[in-house]
């Protein structure tokens, strides 16, 4: 036995034999270093992740929330699927901590009242709008904000065809950024690779419901999508109606009465 294992250092004289017999089990790799993890486990980071406010989503995100110092890519079929309501809880948490939220090139005008309704303080929000300017100043501005490291959360709507290198550059800049950085892109970008360590596809699934597919994360792939209940826009009764409408298309015409149409047409309907 001794001859077979010469590499074991002889630490003390007494219990040598027993220590060789009961060789300590190899430590799990994930216990060696906080950034080590196995392929079937969820990735971990040294940084505390920012909870998203949705327990089902937090369970599946590496670190238990939106990662700091890294890009998170959200793919949307179009603006207005519930992306702001998805992020609102984490943005509000950052603003409560006195951090600033910056938006870069939002796709449409923002309503201050709607943001206020979600709890987002508009005086801790800056909008950088470069769509009317030529060139790629939006990417430059986003990169500057990430590099400064003073912004709480940064959200950027990228133009349709962004070279892969630019995204990689943004991901490198995000390492200086102490907070989540969201990149919102259109659905077609799913065909192209990304440098962001987290990539989600968002899809509306009815009134105030959002389906999220985790396309890329540090961890095993997730087969099924997550169905999240967003902060409601509709009242309970309107919601019932919306669900009914969605599941019973035959009832559609009855839910709508056109008050502006002439009487005989209404009767015919």
């Amino acid at each position: 036995m001794d001859a077979l294992s010469p590499a074991v250092p002889r630490l003390s004289r007494g219990p040598v034999r027993s220590s060789i017999r009961a060789r300590p089990p190899r430590p799990a790799p994930e216990s060696l270093h906080p950034t080590l993890w196995l392929g079937h486990q969820l990735g971990r980071t040294r940084e505390q992740a920012l909870p998203s406010g949705f327990a089902a989503l937090d369970r599946e995100l590496p670190g238990g929330g939106w990662p700091r110092r890294a890009l998170s890519e959200l793919l949307l079929p179009h603006a207005g699927v519930g992306e702001i309501r998805l992020l609102a809880a984490s943005l509000v948490a950052l603003q409560r901590a006195g951090r600033l939220v910056m938006l870069f090139d939002p796709p449409a005008a923002l309503s201050a009242w709607a943001l206020g309704g979600l709890g987002i303080a508009v005086d801790q929000l800056l909008v950088v709008d470069t769509r009317s300017r030529p060139g790629h100043d939006g990417l430059w501005a986003f990169e500057q904000a990430l590099k400064s490291g003073q912004v709480g959360a940064a959200l950027a709507w990228l133009p349709s065809r962004v070279p892969h290198e630019r995204v990689r550059r943004l991901q490198l800049a995000a390492q200086h950024h102490d907070g989540p950085a969201f990149v919102l892109r259109e659905r077609a970008a799913v065909e192209r690779p990304t440098a962001a360590p987290l990539r989600l596809a968002l899809k509306p699934r009815g009134a105030d419901l959002l389906e999220i597919r985790l396309l890329k994360r540090r961890g095993p792939p997730l087969e099924h999508g997550l169905l999240l209940e967003l902060p409601p826009v509709l009242t309970a009764s309107a919601r019932q109606r919306a669900i009914a409408v969605r599941h019973a298309p035959a009832l559609q015409p009855a839910t709508f009465v056109d008050l502006g149409a002439p009487l005989d047409e209404r009767l015919a309907a």
């Binding site: 207005g80 923002l110 201050a112 309704g117 800056l126 100043d137 912004v151 102490d178 009134a207 839910t255």
Partner: protein, 553 residues
């Protein structure tokens, strides 16, 4: 008394090199440069000397030796302007700063003297002080010869003869000075030939001669200077003062068209400005860079003679890198009407305040300053109107219910704190020690409560029971096609799930809106906000029907 002498042996060449104003020349230090006065070379840099160019050559001879030689005119005023920031840098360490006249009355002075005996303790001793002094002057890019001696004249002579010499008492100084060549003395200059003929090479030789004879032959001035250098006669000096306003000029060697080249010249001026600010513990709020154009090259008579670029800072600063980054962005956007010949930098508005405390750990205050600098940088490049904040307006019409305002009204210097609409500096809970951060929060919250000037945008009150509003609003309501009186979006029918919410407003400002709003569900399940115009039938066709107003993001 302890004097430090800073001697700049290559000042005139370096001040000329700064005017070349091309980044290539700055990077390529090996370019052959020489200065000409009255058709004779008066100074040449190392590269030119390697090619055989030396002082005293005729201009044509020098050009024959080195055709690539860049020749400039020796300019006393330019050298003086370049020496000024060195003196200002020294003023940060002692009020007693002297710029003695050059030994050659034709040339500009090349030496700055500082009396530092009273400052040694404050700055942590001789070595530390010298280190800081050299670091302060380093951005100007001058070659420095430094000497330390108990007399002013002695230090000046040593800096030129034996740089890096440090003599702390008079006997040591006397030993060091004895080896100094006589031609460094100012009054002895016209007698240089006679002195050499008599075999007098250094000060020791002079001192060995009888004083009465020396005075008779060469005048009292020579003896007086000797005595002052050796400390046997008092040497009263008049300290320089700091000019109350800053205005520095850089005459460029060649016409400059590009922003890159302008930036190089502006960087030289910024260095001077930063040192002037540091000497009086001030920070900059506003400055102007004036680019004077060459008259001949102006396209037409109505082209302005000069273009002024005003730089206003939201948070006063004297951070050179930040100022230069702002200038770079602003110059990049500027279209110059004509090539530039002269650059003038003026400080219009400064704030005198104590230097900020250096920070070991990241703090909320540092974060706030970084944020202000970020916004300034973005605005410098994109224009202030592209960095916006939102302001809710009390109006029912969605297109009037929100206003965007430029983020930083920097023209309001009366407000001490930020006017950015940025969050006031608050404690970061992510600070390394939670106890510290709690304290910081309490302190800043208290200061915020006590500060009546702190202006915050009115917070939109949470509207309980109010109809929800979509986050995204289309800039123009998008007309929706109809099929059997039902609105279609992307060819699919919309299902109305909530509404109507009637909005009738705007009769007072000629933008009357009479609409019935509905929340509708699109085919893919997303919620949109649409309305039906309630207009009389006489209204134009395109103003009637269904419109898409916004999307619930």
């Amino acid at each position: 008394m302890l004097w430090i002498a800073l001697h700049l042996p290559l000042l005139s060449l370096e001040s000329f090199a700064a005017t070349l104003a091309s980044p290539a020349a700055a990077a390529d230090a090996e370019r052959a440069l020489a200065l000409v006065d009255a058709h004779r070379i008066v100074a040449a840099n190392a590269t030119a000397q390697a090619l055989g160019v030396k002082a005293g050559l005729k201009r044509a001879t020098a050009l024959a030796l080195a055709p690539q030689l860049v020749l400039g005119r020796a300019d006393r005023a330019r050298d003086l302007r370049a020496l000024e920031p060195v003196a200002h840098a020294a003023l940060a360490y002692t009020p007693m700063v002297v710029v003695p006249p050059a030994e050659d009355p034709e040339a500009a002075p090349h030496t700055v003297l500082l009396e530092v005996a009273a400052s040694l303790r404050c700055f942590g001793g001789r070595a530390k002080l010298l280190q800081r002094l050299q670091a302060a002057v380093a951005p100007l890019g001058h070659r420095l010869h430094v000497a330390l001696a108990p007399t002013a004249q002695g230090a000046a002579l040593l800096a030129r003869a034996q740089p890096r010499m440090q003599c702390l008492d008079l006997p040591a100084l006397a030993v060091a000075l004895d080896a100094v060549p006589v031609w460094l003395l100012g009054p002895g200059r016209e007698h240089w030939d006679a002195l050499q003929g008599m075999g007098l090479r250094n000060l020791a030789d002079l001192r060995s001669l009888p004083r009465a004879g020396l005075a008779r032959r060469f005048g009292d001035a020579l003896l007086l200077e000797l005595d002052r250098a050796f400390g046997t006669e008092p040497d009263p000096r008049e300290p320089i003062g700091l000019p109350p306003a800053f205005e520095s000029r850089l005459e460029l060697f060649a016409r400059v068209d590009s922003a890159e080249q302008l930036l190089h010249g502006a960087g030289v001026l910024l260095d001077r400005l930063v040192l002037w600010l540091a000497a009086q513990h001030a920070v900059l709020r506003r400055c102007t860079l004036e680019m004077q154009h060459e008259t001949r090259w102006r396209r037409s008579s109505d082209t302005p003679r000069a273009t002024c670029l005003e730089l206003a800072l939201a948070e006063p600063s004297r951070d050179r890198a930040h100022l230069l980054a702002l200038l770079r962005e602003r110059l990049g956007r500027l279209a110059l009407p004509a090539p530039t010949l002269d650059l003038v930098l003026r400080a219009d508005d400064i704030v005198r305040r104590a230097a900020p405390n250096a920070e070991l750990f990241p703090t909320a205050q540092g974060g706030h300053e970084g944020l202000v600098q970020l916004v300034e940088r973005l605005q410098a490049r994109l224009g202030p109107e592209h960095v916006q904040r939102l302001e809710p307006v009390e109006d029912h019409r969605p297109e009037h219910a929100c206003r965007t305002a430029s983020a930083a009204p920097v023209d309001a210097p009366s407000e001490r704190t930020t006017t950015l609409g940025l969050p006031a500096a608050k404690g970061k809970p992510a600070a390394p020690k939670p106890r510290r951060s709690k304290k910081a929060v309490a302190a800043t919250a208290a200061s915020a409560a006590m500060d009546p000037q702190k202006r915050r945008a009115p917070e939109p009150p949470p509207r309980r029971g109010a109809a929800p509003r979509p986050v995204w609003l289309l800039p123009e309501p998008q007309p929706l096609p109809e099929r059997r009186s039902r609105p279609l979006l992307d060819g699919e029918p919309l299902h109305l799930v909530s509404g109507p919410e009637r909005i009738e407003a705007g009769w007072w400002d000629a933008a009357l809106a009479e609409r019935d709003y509905f929340i509708a569900q699109a085919a893919d399940g997303a919620l949109v906000w649409i309305y039906r115009a309630r207009l009389p039938l006489s209204a134009p066709e395109d103003a009637q029907g269904w419109f898409l107003q916004g999307r619930f993001g």
